[in-house]
Amino acid sequence: MSFSTLSFIFAFLPMSLLLYLIVPKVLKKFILILISLIFYAWGDISNLLYLVIASLFIYMTGLELDVCFKEQKQKEKRIIFFGSVALIIGMLAFFKYAGFMSMPIGVSFFTFSLISYLADVYMKKAEVEHNIINYLLYVTYFPKLISGPIVQYHTFRKSLDSMQMTKIKFAHGCQQFILGLVKKVLIADVISKAFSSMSSIHSMSVLGSWLMVIFYALQLYFDFSGYSDMAIGLSYMFGMPMEDNFNEPYASQSISDFWRRWHISLGHFFRDYVYIPLGGNRCSTMRQIFNLTVVWLLTGIWHGNTICFLVWGLYHGFFIILEKFVYGKGLKKLHVFWRVIYTDFLVFIGWIFFFSPSIHKALDTIAHLFGHGVNGFTDTAFFYYFTSYFIVLLFAVLLCIPKIRELYRKSTYGDSVVTTYLSGLLYLGAFVLCLAYIVSSTYSSFLYFKF
């Protein structure tokens, strides 16, 4: 089930919230697990069994590790941990890359939750969870189940004890959910039509090619950050705060900075469970380069099994290594405007590998951006798409600028009661507008569901 459907907004969500609110405290976690399993089964009942069995398998592994810790069986502990991680990663690889069967929805994110639990226990970041209800709630918690954010176990476990529905958390959750809905329905879905239409044009101009790439960059950002905002908003509604997954990434001042602001939870996962255990940056330069290469190779592979994703991952890794060891200091001397231009230029080029079906097509598109194999600098298609989507494009670009968002926050949440009420009305209006769009248009899936 998707967060941006009427059945979710008007049936599943209110019923879940009501049920969660009225049941006695002792049953709340159990009810939330049940709600999460129904949520998953609604979209993919055939693979629900895998979700449950794999969760139980890792739970048993946790208990096994606990015994090994107590009995100080170091070697056995290592074998159990790496063996179990290898098994669930093997299953993930089978689903994602073998192509023999449809991939269980959210399997990548779900597998990362399992790894996080096991790794936190193994690295002693958290205690083994003996309470299966607490454990299952972490693994199946529906706001994050399908497409993240990837909440690490030790973070979730700390918040679990203080999990409580409050008016403030609920209001914040509603606000963030509506913001996500606006991003998805009013921006990403509209821009996706432009991108989809432009990408089927055979002959393009230079400006047309740039516009198409910009459309994709904006679509991907508003689609995925919209989903994340909705997930975080939902979690707040149930009384569980979650950290942001995006922080105005297109205002980043370097590629390293971009990855601190884009899909933050994935970056943290690879940092905490791959980069730091490999030695992080407390080792020789060559070893650091090796560690970074491994992380970016895995980031690419995680997104897909095509050579394009691999190249995309290594492309980002390459510039991060350059920034770290070659021109990082020089970059900092540039004016902030030029640093943002540098970052967005490289990131947008990178997205071409992300959306292209083959390396050949990706290179063709890159060549078009620089005037090779195009029909001129500009053409009627460019003007048509630019003028037709100008309003949404402008709105999207403005939302990417930190100062504009800061200004909005100050003007809507000042000390004045009037601005607070106006802000409430604004969100209500945006919600109604989103509903109108959802009713009148065909359902559009989230881009990150396929990962």
Binding site: D44, S46, L49, Y50, I53, A54, L56, F57, M60, T61, L63, E64, V67, C68, M91, F95, K96, G99, F100, M101, S102, M103, I105, S196, S197, S199, S200, P357, V439, T442, Y443, S444, S445, F449, K450
Partner: protein
């Protein structure tokens, strides 16, 4: 030590259950070697040409949100008038892992058509309610037609 043995026995049972589940899932996914051109030539014979017309790539994108370049083959016959609900879509997947997303988009299209005919198009609504979505390995069929079941039979036979 006793605890460890119990945990390991449970883990082995869980692995066996996953194995059985995988075997069941994989045995249901038989990839067809029928070429899309052959499938197309067979299905065209069953198309209701009075109620439908051929849909090009743009139409497929607009009505279904499917990007034809992501699939090995795709054919669409969509309603020739606003009062018609007849439709035929055949998709040959490059990878069966795309099955769910395609089925979701087909269901969304069906729902949007049901909404469009709700309240005044009783015959069209009935056709949509009786429509069939058939997933067979790497092929997916969606048919809205008075003869939907015979079209499905032809589809299955062609696999």
């Amino acid at each position: 030590m006793k605890k460890l043995i119990v945990y390991r026995i449970i883990k082995v049972i869980l692995v066996v259950i996953i194995g059985i589940w995988l075997f069941d899932r994989l045995s249901g996914t038989k990839v067809s070697k029928t070429s899309f051109t052959k499938m197309q030539s067979i299905m065209v014979k069953h198309v209701n040409t009075k109620q439908t017309k051929v849909g090009n790539k743009q139409i497929i994108r607009r009505l279904y949100g499917l990007d034809p370049s992501n699939y090995e083959g795709i054919m669409l016959y969509y309603p020739s008038s606003t009062m018609s609900a007849n439709e035929l879509l055949v998709v040959k997947l490059k990878s069966v892992k795309d099955e769910q997303s395609v089925v979701d988009l087909i269901k969304a299209r069906r729902q949007s058509q049901k909404n469009a005919f709700k309240g005044y198009g009783a015959a069209q609504t009935k056709l949509l309610n009786d429509s069939l979505i058939e997933v067979r390995g790497n092929y997916i069929l969606y048919v809205v037609d008075e003869n939907a079941s015979s079209i499905r039979d032809a589809f299955v036979k062609a696999l």
